[in-house]
């Protein structure tokens, strides 16, 4: 169900349709990116495997739906603790060892993880494209000349809710404050007696939980296959760079911008060329505005 397919109505309707599409899409991208910006902002590691966890979330939803006839919205609640746990395991086994390592080690470790996960999916579940089509995927909602399906709308609201929850956690809980402190100055945090290992553990687990949940949420909206994560990875990095590393509010705004580019691009050039836009956008952002829209270099703040 392509959110940007025009309905052949007058201009205003089209703009409204595109506008709402952007917002809906933006919300989902925000959930993906917010986890990434946390990981990047606090741990300073570029995780090339981030998209693979999204893919795993999509597969989780698929198998739950196919084998157990469970709706993705239900699976969501299970997926959050599940992916949190997965994040912990991944951290302990892999990420912990590379936090202080050179860039190359970080790049190739997470790239290795990415290939391993992609192909694990390939081996286990084959490369066939799968879809999840719960009842709400085909249920249209028509509001003021725009039309969407229920899946998108609910995905959006849940994504926003989760993002806000994460935001609140970072802002108002003790752990959240500790995490932000570590992001600002790792050495000072250590000197203050903060257990940075615990901070990283939670950060990574939260980030993976967020992206896993996002995978479940978007499963009705996209094709599911082992390499589904790749486009999202680059996209989320565009968002993170645009918004400034570690800046959660920036990630939200960045998501909207990226969604807008994708929606507009699809509308004008057709969906076949859609993917090219975030890649071009990515390169453009890196070349012209690597410090992000708000000029934060290796942003120290976390949206508060």
């Amino acid at each position: 169900m392509d959110p940007a397919r025009p309905l052949g109505r007058p201009q205003i309707d089209v703009v409204a349709q595109l506008g709402v599409s952007t917002i809906l899409l933006g919300g989902i991208y925000a959930l993906i990116a917010v986890g990434l910006t946390l990981i990047f902002g606090i741990m300073r590691v570029v995780n090339f495997a981030h998209g693979e966890f999204l893919m795993l979330g999509m597969y989780l939803a698929f198998w739950a739906y196919t084998l157990l006839a469970l709706d993705p919205w239900f699976v969501l609640f299970v997926s959050i603790p599940l992916f949190f746990g997965l994040g912990l395991v991944t951290y302990v086994l892999i990420m912990r060892g590379i936090i202080h390592a050179s860039h190359n080690v970080q790049i190739f470790t997470t790239v290795g993880l990415s290939i391993a996960l992609q192909n694990l999916a390939l081996v286990l579940w084959s490369g066939d494209f799968h879809t999840v089509r719960p009842w709400h995927a085909g249920a249209p909602i028509r509001v003021a000349g725009t039309a969407f399906n229920l899946s998108q709308v609910v995905a959006f609201f849940i994504a926003i809710a989760l993002t806000v929850a994460l935001f609140a956690f970072m802002r108002w809980t003790h752990t959240g404050r500790v995490m932000r402190a570590t992001a600002q100055d790792r050495d000072a945090a250590i000197l203050m007696g903060i257990d940075t290992d615990r901070v990283y553990r939670i950060t990574f687990a939260l980030g993976i939980a967020a992206v896993g949940a996002a995978g479940v949420l978007v499963s009705p909206l996209y094709a599911i296959y082992p390499q589904a994560g790749l486009q999202f990875v680059l996209l989320s990095y565009v968002v993170v760079v645009l918004g400034g590393l570690g800046d959660m509010v920036g990630a939200l705004i960045g998501s909207l911008i990226v969604a807008a580019v994708e929606v507009a691009g699809s509308y004008w050039f057709g969906t076949a060329w859609k993917e090219i836009f975030y890649f071009l956008l990515f390169i453009a952002v890196l070349v012209f505005r690597p410090a992000g829209l708000f000029g934060q270099r290796g942003a120290e703040t976390l949206g508060a």
């Binding site: 860039h103 190739f108 391993a116 192909n119 990515f282």
Partner: protein
């Protein structure tokens, strides 16, 4: 001269063995594996110029490979030209693309640069796979086989020697990088750009040169590969998996060493051949398994054996020398 021979006895052994193989072995399948080992080795050596010697880690080298492959295929099918001409066109295009990527390397740090190279190769993939009018879109281009050297239509034995020549050339280029003034200064840039600049080294320029040369070398092999395999599939020649493969061989074998990419290629390609033989019949299952192995190897090698196979060999040699002393 004798010292040079002694120093490079590993390479002498390997390339010598490769040269003698067609004399001894006639099995087409075996020779085919040999050609692939040599080509993959050369491709990783090309990657190594940018990734190992200049420290610019790219995960998008498939972009240049694909350019080379398509240049040959298009030259042969669209314009009825010799693939060698296509190779030249591919080199020219890759020089431009490489310079662009080199420019990016001066603006972006490590992981971001790597991400941007992925983006670049993906853009090319999408363009190639959708531009039906020019590149036959997602169907790919079958490369016609016309016997003869000018059209690169060769038999297995000839391919072995051609691949060997290329491999030797690329190995020699790397050795030159280890011993030349340019190479030393490039090493300085790799280790610490600011410090290198303080020594009068134009760091940015050297990086661009390294990446551009690396791109051209990759493109040449792309052309050869397309002619050898006979089919250009956009989803393969521009894929991220392929880019990773180039880096993988070099890392496993010893990044930043001349023989490393070839050692890595021997190990990885042999492993792949072995797995293919034992798991034949399980199509996608096989593809996935050996890539899982590679992914895991990458994680382990990069953390625990950063010097790769070449490093292990050097350590063994040192220990043996110590034992004799």
């Amino acid at each position: 001269m004798r010292r040079a021979l002694a120093r490079h006895r590993g390479a002498l052994l390997l390339f010598g063995a490769a040269a003698l193989t067609p004399v001894v072995v006639r099995d087409a399948y075996f020779l085919d594996s040999l050609v692939l080992i040599l080509l993959w080795g050369a491709l990783s050596a090309a990657w190594n110029v940018a990734g190992g010697y200049a420290g610019q880690v790219s995960i998008g080298h498939a972009a240049f490979f694909g350019i080379g492959a398509y240049s040959a295929a298009l030259a042969g099918t669209r314009w009825q030209q010799s693939p060698w001409l296509g190779m030249l066109a591919g080199i020219a295009l890759s020089l431009v693309a490489g310079a662009a990527i080199g420019y990016l390397s001066n603006r972006l740090r490590g992981p971001y640069f790597a991400l941007s190279t992925i983006a670049f190769s993906q853009v090319l993939l999408i363009v190639a796979s959708r531009w039906r009018g020019f590149t036959s879109g997602s169907e790919g281009i079958p490369v016609p086989f016309r016997p003869g050297f000018a059209t690169l239509g060769l038999g297995h034995v000839a391919w072995v020697y051609l691949a060997l020549a290329v491999a030797l050339l690329y190995w020699a280029i790397q050795v030159w990088l280890e011993r030349s003034r340019f190479g030393y200064r490039l090493a300085g840039v790799r280790e610490d750009e600011d410090a290198a600049q303080a020594l009068g080294i134009p760091a940015r320029r050297l990086k661009v040169i390294a990446v551009t040369v690396s791109a051209a070398l990759t493109s040449v092999c792309g052309t050869l590969w397309a002619q050898y395999v006979g089919f250009v599939d956009p989803f393969y020649v521009f894929s991220v998996d392929l880019s990773i493969r180039f880096a993988l061989n070099a890392i496993i074998g010893g990044v930043g060493t001349a023989l490393g990419p070839f050692l890595g290629s021997i190990l990885i390609t042999s492993l792949e051949t072995y797995l293919r033989a034992t798991l034949s019949g399980v199509q996608s299952g096989f593809t996935g398994i050996y890539l899982i192995v590679y992914g895991t190897m990458l994680i382990l090698v990069v953390r625990f054996f950063p010097d790769g196979l070449a490093g292990l060999a050097a350590r063994l040699r040192a220990r043996r020398a110590g034992a004799h002393a």
